[in-house]
Amino acid sequence: MGDQVSRLRTVSESSGFSRKRLVFGLKVAVFIVSLWPVTEIVIAFLTGNTRLFGANPAEKILHRTGDWAIYFLLITLAISPLRRITGLNDLIKFRRMAGLFAFFYAFLHLMSYIAFDRFFYFDEILQDIFKRPFIFVGIAAFILLIPLAVTSTRGWVQRLGGHRWILLHRSVYIIAILGVAHYWWLVKRDLLWPAIYAGILIVLLGYRLLPKKRFRG
C-alpha cells in the first residue's frame, strides 16, 4: 500500500505530462458533476417526469439553482484557504470553473424568477427590485458577477494586468455576502440554512484576514 503510494508520487512528480492529464481528467469529471443539478432538471423535463420535483416544480428549480449558485460561490471562496492548508496547489486550477458555475446557476436562478415567478412582467420585476431588499441584493450580486465571468479568461488577466485583475475579482467577497443576505431576507421563518451559509462565509472571509506567509490570493 505504502509502496503503491510512493510509486504514484514518483510517477506524478517525474512526469508533468501525466499530472497535467490527471488534472484535466479531474476537471472534466468535476465539470460533469457540476452540471448534474441542471441535467437532472432537463431529464425530468424531457421524460415528462416533473413529479421528481414534487408538487411545485418551478419553485424547486428556483430554489435548486439558487442553492447551487451559493454552493459554488462558497466553493470558489474555499479554494484558496484549502490550497493554503493542504498545499495542493493544483486546486487553483478548479477555481475559475467553480466561479463560472456560480455565475451559471445564478443566471438560471434569475431566469427562473423572471419566467416562472414573474411571468415576464418586467414592470413588476422593476418594482420588485426597488421595493424588496432581497430582490435588490440578489440582482446586484448577479450584475456584479457578470464582469467577473467575462474577465475570467487568461487573456483578460493579461489585458488587465495581474494586480488590477485581482482587485476586480476581490468583489466576489461582496457578491458572496450579497448572496447570503439575499437568502437570509427571503425566508419566511426558518433561518437555519441561511445561518449555516453565513457561518461558512464568515469562516472563509475571516480566514483571509489571518496573517499570511508568502501566500497571495
Binding site: T50, G54, A55, N56, P57, A58, E59, A115, F116, D117, R118, F119, E124, Q127, D128, K131, R132, F134, W185, L186, K188, R189, D190
Partner: protein, 313 residues
C-alpha cells in the same frame, strides 16, 4: 348575510373518487417501492383514513378541476411537523388523531367538549374550494365538513363573542417542529365572529372523499376559502369565543407581513413579494391572476364594507 344556494348536483357531475385517489402511490406502497418511498408513506397514512359520506355542494361553482390528491397531501405548510413543504407528509403519521375532542368555550351559553365523531354524525357536505397560500401558490381541494355556524349554534355564543379563536394541538412528542421556537406554540388563529359564522366557513374533517390526511390537519381543521391558507388552523383542539381580537401566530411572529384579516387580495402585496398572481399547482408559471377574496367576493365582500383593506390586511 348572503346564503349559499345549497342544492345537490346530478351524480354525473361529481368527480369520481378514483380520480382523486392516486392508485400509483397505493401500488407503490404495496410493493414497497423505494423510489416513491415518501409518496408511499403518504399512501400508508391514507390507509388509516376512511371514506366519509358527504352531500356535494357546488355553490359557488369552480371551473378548475381539483388538484391531484397526492399533490395536496405532499406539499404542505404545517410547521409543527417541520418547515419544509415535504416535512408534514413525512412526519405527520406520528400524530394520534383518535380519540379527538374539541373544547368549545368562552363567551358561550353552553360550553362543551365535542368528539370529532359527533361532528361527522351531524351530516357533512363536500365543497370544492380554491385554496390560496400567502406564498402565492394555490390548489383546488374538495373538502368535507360542515358550516362552522352549525357548531356555534350548539354552544350559543353570547353578545360578547366578537371573535373566535382556534387553537391547534400542542403535542411535542408527536410533532417534532414544536421543539423549535419558529412560532409561538400552540398555533393560534382567529376570525371575527361574522367571518366565522359565514356560510362559506367550514369546519373540515375530510378531503377527497375521505377523512383528512394528518399533514392536512387531521382530524379537524378550519377552511376559510377567501383568506390565505394560514388563517385556516389545523388539528384543532380548542375553539374559544372571545371579546377581544386574538393575537394569532403569524401576527405575533411578524405583524408587518401577516395581518389579522389576511384576506386574499391582489392589491395588497406581501412586503417581500407580489400577491397579484399565483401558481395553480402543479403549473410552472405563476401566471394566474389572483382574485380579490380568492374569487369569493360576491359572497364575502360585504363583510368588509367601509374597511380599508390596505390598512386591515
Amino acid at each position: 348575510m348572503p346564503r349559499l344556494i345549497s342544492k345537490p348536483i346530478p351524480s354525473s357531475e361529481i368527480t369520481p373518487r378514483e380520480v382523486y385517489l392516486n392508485r400509483r402511490a397505493l401500488l407503490a406502497a404495496a410493493a414497497g417501492g423505494s423510489a416513491l418511498a415518501m409518496m408511499g408513506k403518504a399512501a400508508f397514512a391514507s390507509g388509516l383514513r376512511r371514506p366519509l359520506e358527504a352531500i356535494p355542494n357546488t355553490a359557488p361553482k369552480i371551473s378548475d378541476a381539483p388538484t391531484d390528491h397526492d399533490l395536496a397531501t405532499s406539499y404542505n405548510n404545517f410547521y409543527e411537523f417541520g418547515t419544509s413543504k415535504s416535512d408534514p407528509a413525512r412526519n405527520a403519521d406520528a400524530l394520534t388523531t383518535k380519540p379527538w375532542t374539541i373544547e368549545i368555550v368562552g363567551e358561550v351559553i353552553k360550553p362543551r367538549t365535542i368528539d370529532v365523531e359527533e361532528l361527522i354524525n351531524m351530516g357533512l357536505e363536500e365543497r370544492i374550494y380554491r385554496f390560496r397560500c400567502v406564498e402565492a401558490w394555490s390548489m383546488v381541494i374538495p373538502w368535507i365538513g360542515l358550516e362552522f355556524n352549525k357548531i356555534a349554534a350548539l354552544v350559543e355564543p353570547t353578545s360578547r363573542a366578537k371573535y373566535v379563536k382556534f387553537v391547534t394541538v400542542n403535542r411535542p412528542s408527536e410533532m417534532p417542529g414544536l421543539r423549535s421556537d419558529m412560532l409561538d406554540w400552540p398555533y393560534t388563529e382567529g376570525l371575527r365572529i361574522d367571518e366565522a359564522m359565514h356560510p362559506l366557513t367550514l369546519l373540515t374533517v375530510g378531503m377527497y372523499g375521505q377523512t383528512l390526511a394528518n399533514q392536512n390537519g387531521a382530524p379537524v381543521r378550519m377552511i376559510v376559502p377567501w383568506k390565505y391558507g394560514f388563517k385556516s388552523g389545523k388539528s384543532i383542539v380548542r375553539i374559544e369565543f372571545v371579546e377581544k381580537q386574538p393575537v394569532t401566530a403569524w401576527v405575533a411572529a411578524n405583524s408587518r407581513e401577516y395581518g389579522f384579516y389576511s384576506n386574499v387580495n391582489p392589491d395588497v402585496d406581501h412586503p417581500r413579494w407580489t400577491q397579484k398572481r399565483e401558481r395553480l399547482l402543479p403549473d410552472f408559471f405563476a401566471s394566474r391572476d389572483t382574485e380579490k377574496f380568492n374569487g369569493y367576493g360576491e359572497q364575502v365582500a360585504s363583510l368588509y364594507s367601509g374597511m380599508d383593506l390596505k390598512v386591515n390586511y
